[in-house]
């Protein structure tokens, strides 16, 4: 994950992850952040991510089983320090 840490300073940052799936990337960086909000319309993937959340990051990660555009419609501007498109544009 050094490539991610080289490109983005995640320390104590509020992160929006789009497309976490089962959380395979989330677990590798979440401990550095202040908080991770992860959104994915794949309900089964989000459920699996919730079930397998490591206890070390459980208090700083939340998952929303919803599409980005629906999530964005309920949220105001200028909220997040970092957004991560996690294999989700394709």
């Amino acid at each position: 994950m050094q490539a991610l840490f080289d490109l983005a300073d995640l320390d104590r940052k509020h992160v929006l992850e789009i497309g976490p799936g089962t959380g395979r990337l989330t677990w590798r960086y979440a401990d550095r952040t202040a908080y991770v909000t992860a959104v994915d319309p794949w309900v089964d993937g989000i459920e699996r991510a919730r079930q397998t959340t490591p206890t070390t990051v459980a208090k700083r990660v939340e998952f929303h089983p919803t599409a980005l555009l629906d999530f964005a419609a309920d949220h105001g501007p200028s909220v997040y320090d970092v957004a991560i498109l996690s294999w989700s544009l394709c």
């Binding site: 050094q2 490539a3 991610l4 080289d6 490109l7 983005a8 929006l16 789009i18 799936g21 089962t22 395979r24 990337l25 994915d40 319309p41 794949w42 089964d44 993937g45 699996r48 980005l68 555009l69 964005a72 949220h75 501007p77 200028s78 909220v79 997040y80 320090d81 970092v82 957004a83 991560i84 498109l85 996690s86 294999w87 544009l89 394709c90």
Partner: protein, 145 residues
């Protein structure tokens, strides 16, 4: 996709950053590791859809229209390990479960044949064999313009 990028721009603070991670065009590899070395490597069969092209076009469009400015790009390999072929196969099925489009029969058949070969190699390599999935990946940092 372009609308999604515009929404991400809105959600980000003005000094925030967008990190895009998506597969590179090179094919992923599946490896059998045993006793600290790679015993065998196979190319992971995959379908060549338009998804990757569309993703790259959407990113380019967001840069062209001034939504984001691309600041840096890195190529890296994302590794996933399993203790057996069955475990890695279950991971692929789970990770791909969001995609409900039909799987190309030829690709599916090539994957099945690959799993059989890898299982045989794993058996011959003993209990310490581990299966690795090496995924060439492209990561870019974009700043809201």
């Amino acid at each position: 996709m372009v609308h999604a990028l515009e929404e991400i721009h809105r959600l980000l603070r003005p000094d925030g950053v967008l990190i895009d991670i998506h597969p590179a065009r090179e094919a992923p590899l599946v490896e059998v590791h045993a006793d600290g070395r790679i015993v065998v490597t196979e190319t992971y069969p995959r379908a060549h859809g338009d998804d990757l092209v569309q993703a790259e076009e959407a990113l380019s469009e967001s840069v062209r229209t001034g939504v984001f400015a691309e600041e840096a790009v890195r190529a890296f390999e994302f590794m996933t390990y399993g203790s057996s072929v069955a475990e890695l196969r279950a991971f692929f099925e789970e990770a791909g479960a969001y995609d409900t489009s039909p799987i190309d029969d030829q690709v599916a058949a090539r994957r099945d044949a690959m799993y059989i070969r890898l299982e045989e190699v794993g058996r011959r390599s003993g209990k310490r064999a581990e299966i690795g999935f090496r995924e060439p990946t492209r990561m870019s940092r974009l700043a809201p313009s």
